[in-house]
């Protein structure tokens, strides 16, 4: 019999759910502790997406919504990296979905109250399925910072949202990537909801000067670690016992 279980999550390295400096968390963070239980097949299985859902420009946000081949405003960047598990094993076939504001800090979304302008050539969404070495790459526009209502008006650092499916539903990760050198990172309550300094820093994409020079686009490297799982075999037991 094989028992598969996800590595126990280390909440010291994760954001606090209830973090009143981020006002929206006050009414949305559950008050009770989460209930831990051993992984079952429901947690170690998960949807796996076929590469055929990805079309040619899905990972190029400068082209996938452009009208009449016009370019979006702003400077193009490359965001790339690898997805690995906690044992540093590359994860092939992981689906990454990203979304972001345009160069002026405006989302293509009717609920965005920011007065900055919509860019008709930039929707701000992309997706990709990782290669066999776990690597991914997006071409996009440097997103702008933007003001939002929190404790009065505050500013979000430049960021890209990431949603990732690995091999199991228990590995699901939703996060944000920030940009090296952005002074707004330190003041962001969403970033600061993570108490651990090293964990916080792991969300900052680093400027990749080698790629920036060879490809003539500023490149940022953002590596992602999804939960690992252990497999244990009990050879002396028969199936179903």
């Amino acid at each position: 019999m094989a028992v598969k279980s996800l590595i126990k999550r280390n909440y010291d390295k994760q954001p606090q759910l209830n973090y009143p400096d981020y006002k929206s968390s006050i009414l949305r963070a559950p008050k009770k502790d989460k209930v831990f239980f051993p992984s079952s097949p429901s947690e170690v299985s998960g949807p796996i997406f076929n590469k055929n859902i990805i079309r040619k420009f899905d990972n190029d946000l400068t082209l996938n919504f452009s009208q009449n081949n016009a370019s979006p405003i702003g400077h193009k960047i490359i965001v790339h990296g690898t997805i690995r598990d906690q044992f540093l094993k590359p994860i092939e076939g992981a689906l990454i979905e990203i979304w972001q504001a345009n160069a002026g800090g405006k989302y293509f979304h009717n609920k965005d109250q920011n007065i900055a302008a919509i860019d008709p050539n930039f929707a701000g969404c992309g997706r990709f399925i990782t290669e066999n070495n776990g690597s991914y790459e997006f071409i996009t526009i440097q997103p702008g910072p933007y003001p939002y209502p929190n404790r009065g008006v505050e500013w979000r650092p430049m960021h890209i949202h990431f949603s990732i499916f690995g091999k199991s539903f228990g590995q699901r990760l939703i996060t944000q990537m920030y940009f090296e050198g952005d002074p707004l990172i330190d003041f962001c309550p969403m970033v600061n909801s993570i108490p651990d300094k090293k964990a916080k820093k792991s969300l900052i994409g680093s400027l990749d000067r080698t790629q920036s020079n060879t490809k003539q686009l500023l490149a940022y490297k953002f590596d992602i670690i999804l939960r690992g799982s252990n497999q244990t075999f009990f050879e002396n037991r028969t199936e179903g016992l």
Binding site: I7, I26, L27, R28, K32, V35, S163, T175, L226
Partner: protein, 193 residues
């Protein structure tokens, strides 16, 4: 709790924010033509929809308000309790007027655990939104099913906790209501999966 040594830290979570539709459900906000279909529009592609059940409900915040900027994702087995990687996933948001979500799917079967015990039919939920720094996991079971032997429910009951927040109310054989409460007297049990 001891964590295994010499392994890398999992990347930290961050909130999905209020504009998650752009990346996760672009066609629902009229970003058309980028992705042909939104992911998880239908949990099962090759099943007879006449056999589908419907599950509906709302997600409530601590002030009792039903949210419309929340995203729900579900993962379930087929009718025989078998998980298949290309079926069983759905992703949806509540209707902006009624604030209710609706999921049409097949009723999952009982899933066999690694030790051979049977889990009662259930659907796994993941909930993401603005104000939720780390998406929340829970499970939905079905009123009317035999729930006495389910390992998770039994474990929670042993520590004297009420499991009713994990059980969808049965309206009739094909329709169920499952509300999720982020806070308050009826706060849903969330799981450290």
């Amino acid at each position: 709790m001891n964590y295994p040594k010499n392994i890398a830290d999992e990347t930290p979570f961050q909130t999905a924010g209020p504009f998650l539709h752009i990346g996760c459900l672009p066609n629902t906000i009229n970003i058309n033509g980028v992705f042909q279909n939104d992911l998880g529009e239908k949990p099962f592609i090759n099943k007879d929809t006449n056999d589908f059940i419907s599950i509906s409900g709302s997600v409530f915040d601590g002030s009792g308000q039903a949210l419309d900027d929340v995203m729900l994702e579900t993962w379930q087995s087929d009718e025989n309790g078998v998980y298949t990687p290309d079926n069983g996933f759905a992703r949806f948001v509540p209707n902006s007027i009624s604030k209710k979500y609706k999921l049409s799917t097949i009723k999952p079967g009982s899933v066999q655990n690694f030790d051979g015990s049977l889990q009662s039919p259930h659907i796994s939920f993941s909930i993401s939104s603005r104000g939720i720094n780390m998406n929340l996991n829970t499970r939905m079971y079905f009123e009317g099913d035999n729930l006495f032997k389910d390992p998770l429910l039994s474990m929670i009951k042993k520590s004297n906790n009420d499991v009713s927040s994990l059980i969808a109310s049965k309206i009739d054989d094909t329709s169920f209501i499952f509300n999720i409460f982020l806070q308050g007297d009826k706060e849903t049990i969330f799981l450290d999966v």
